[in-house]
């Protein structure tokens, strides 16, 4: 028996106009219309959506495992507010004990002594 041919379509849905489209699952279809109809039938029997995308899987390019792994490993706290948590305590301290004029001369962030 000759095999029937279909394409895999990945389904992305948006639940709210301010939210991004999120990957839902995938369906097997021969046209985008069919993929959209099947996506509705398979994944939205209960909850609603504001928008639905289907993308043929072969149009999606992804990183291989090694690259994903490499990306995950790198620490990037210097790009985030993570390293600046100490600021809150300092601000509280200076609100209660404002720096005097002499204190303001010289000194670096890292060298300043709170107590």
């Amino acid at each position: 028996m000759e095999r029937l041919d279909f394409d895999v379509y990945e389904v992305f849905a948006q639940s709210d106009p301010l939210k991004p489209h999120v990957h839902v699952f995938n369906v097997l279809a021969s046209t985008p219309d069919m993929a959209l109809a099947l996506a509705e039938e398979n994944f939205f029997r209960r909850e609603g959506f504001v928008n639905l995308w289907v993308v043929r899987r072969d149009a999606i390019h992804q990183l291989g495992y090694q690259d994903r792994e490499g990306f995950r490993k790198s620490e990037k706290t210097y790009r985030t507010t993570e390293d600046y948590k100490y600021l809150r305590d300092k601000w509280r301290h200076y609100r209660e004990h404002p720096m005097s004029a002499e204190d303001r001369t010289g000194g670096t962030r890292d060298g300043s002594v709170v107590d």
Partner: protein, 315 residues
Amino acid sequence: MVEEQFTDQEAYFLERVDRGDRIEAEDWMPEDYRQQLVRLIAMHAVSEIMGALPEKEWVPRAPTLYRRLAITAKVQDEVGHGQLLIRVAEDLMRPWDKNREDIMEDLFTGRLKYHNVFHMATPTWADAGIIGWLVDGAAVITQGMSLSCSYAPYARALQRIVEEEGFHIQHGESICMALAEGTPMQRAMLQDALNRWWPALLMFFGPPEKSQLSTHQLRNIRYRIRSKTNEELRQRFFTKYVHRIWSLGLTIPDPTLRQDPVTKEWIYQQPDWNEFREIVNNHGPRSEARLGLRSTTYQEGEWVRRLISTAHRAG
């Protein structure tokens, strides 16, 4: 499995699994892992599809319009679960150049088995209730464990599935509760259904391991495809449901059933495991009829599948 025999690639794979990493379809995986997954997921997929049939028999006979809408929705969900799982299995079978047609073929030839419970008859409306309440209840215990499966696409499919099972179970509870609160005849019907289903419910989790795990189980546990034994899952089922069943004034057809007050382990009468083997080998009460229906429908739908395949795509 002796770990020293592994190649670097296999060792790295197991290390990923050990640290709780989830494996994606395109990642490198040992052939054995792929085979274990396909075995499990294809079986689960056809069980969902065959599992729609016992309750489907009650769609035209549901007692009220509301019950009819609800059971139709449930039957549709089960077929939907089959659809999700078949996609997961197909992606794994791609390197073997196999697809859903092979899964269906294996189902029809008996090479691929489906859950024992779906070979059983559903002579009354109470059977539909017991399926929703206790068969889906048992299934959720197994599927709940599988949410932690190392293979990410299967775990993602299960998240969607388990969410809908919540509705299935309450739908079943509601049917059983109504019968339990009903006339003496309705109560008797519910009791009869429970008597019919009890051995099948125990069989659902598979034979107890005693202290002997099968090679398949050992591998699946090593690969973090599963994390509990058949017996552990069955014990959970008892703990979750025995008291509830009793609270409706029903009798569980096992006079030996009791919980050890110290170990908390449930002592129970083993179902007939030879009968279990007969049933899953398609010699159950309704095996032939349901497989016949499934295969006729499949053949009759062949022209539709042909028409909607890419061969006929316009342009």
